[in-house]
Amino acid sequence: MEENEIINGLTEAVVNGKKDQAAELSQKSLDEGVDPYIAVINGLAKGMEIMSEKYENKQAFMPHLLMASNAMYAGMDVLIPHIKTEGSGARKVLVIGAVEGDVHDIGKNLVKTMMSAVGFEAIDLGKDVPVEQFVEAAAQNKADVMSISTLMTSTMDNMQRVMDGLNSKGIRNNMKVIVGGAPITADFATEIGADATKTDAMEAARWAKEAVESLSPGRWD
């Protein structure tokens, strides 16, 4: 199988939500010597990006998106262990969590998926994450980006506390911080000193990819 064929096949497997196919083709790409980083970015992630655009344009919906993301992760499970962890191919680190969660933390999962799709290694803290845990995880994993979300207005204060925690530990400027969730406005993001808030997952991922470029490489040393 040609490299192109494999890459396109990976994209298609994600678009069609074919989990097994994505995993098989990923293995095949390794067997054929395709650079796993290329297979993820040009193959799997591209499929996810196509689906995300379809979702924004109301041509695809949550069922299709979740099927696609399952397929993407199935492929990534095979490929990621083979990606070199240093140099230009090194993955940027995302620490993501919800200060409060309910059924709608599907939004958070989508952000995680799209961030993974653009090349982040996601450290998912889950939902109902205590303030201190965000701060600790950021320091421990040398985060490049932190994403904090909430769905409940009553827990918006906790976002401020995470920001305060990062500040008092002196690591706030080591990473970019994006906040999100139904009650979050741009004004609120500015007020608490976050770098951005975006209304959809793909936009958030695009923003994050670009934003990390301005971080200095040695800042965690």
Binding site: H64, N70, E100, V103, H104, S154
Partner: protein
Amino acid sequence: MDEYTPKKRLALALRGESVDRMPAISVTQTGTVEQMEACGAFWPEANEDAEKMATLAEAGHTVVGFEAVRVPFDITAEAEFFGCEIKAGTKEQQPSVVGHVIKSIEDIEKLKDYDLSEGRIGVVCDAIRILAGKYGDELPIMGSMLGPFSLAQHMNGDDWFMAIMTDEKFAFALMELTTEFNIAYAKKMVDNGADTMVIIDPTASAMLIGDEFYQKFVVPAHKRIVDTMHELNVATVLHICGDTTPSLALMESSDVDAISVDQNVDVATALSKVDSAVIIGNLDPVSVLWKKTPEQIREVSKDLLAAGAGLLGPGCGIVSKTPNANLQAMIEMAKGHTY
């Protein structure tokens, strides 16, 4: 003599019939900290004890001035009833569903026998009975429940969104369970004195699942609930979060009397999308009702009324920290509006 009791006024207004003026109500949750402090019934106890639930619901009328009483204050009693793990709420925060109980069609079978007098389902019905005993002649007694699609999602987790696409047999079976439950629960609320039924089905959004799945799974379920309520002469309101503009016609096809729209919906546009459903809404519960001043709230209300809102109200559940004065500004604007 006032020809219209608040009860009669709302009953007529929800059906689009003529009344002397707009009723001042909220179809979404009404509990706030200021009311808790005024009446002595606090969350989380007021979510679990019928007397306290009724007391806090009553405060919406006696303390704030809503022309109705409404229970409960959260949307987790239904999932809890079926055994989903719940994260407890606090004084300021509603409980939330964190665990799921259904993975397969066999799991559904196991949950088919239930007793509606149990759990918080029973508590809500008891609270309704208390409220109806005290205010039933005068005020609308509003019961609210999580809708069948969102309940299915609570029970099955995020896999639910894929199940509706990949496993129709399972999806229809689970919808059957939740819809039957909703019908029985709504009837029980009505037996206890509820005269208005609010269906809150946040994840049943066509924006999330698309028109095709909405039509297939959601509309028939809502229609069965609505038909049952109509047989009992109970008006129905449907609330779905998010920008529901493109799917309002589909939502209305379940024959609900009124649709409560989120702050992301433009009221005038919404009106152009429905045939006869009353559009309720849609002050932003956070950036307007909670954060703005009464004066600003009056301004926003004025615009919504001018746009044709059939009932002025919050776009989603009222935030627990919302000041009374802010709610009263909205109430005053509703009361001052003639159709």
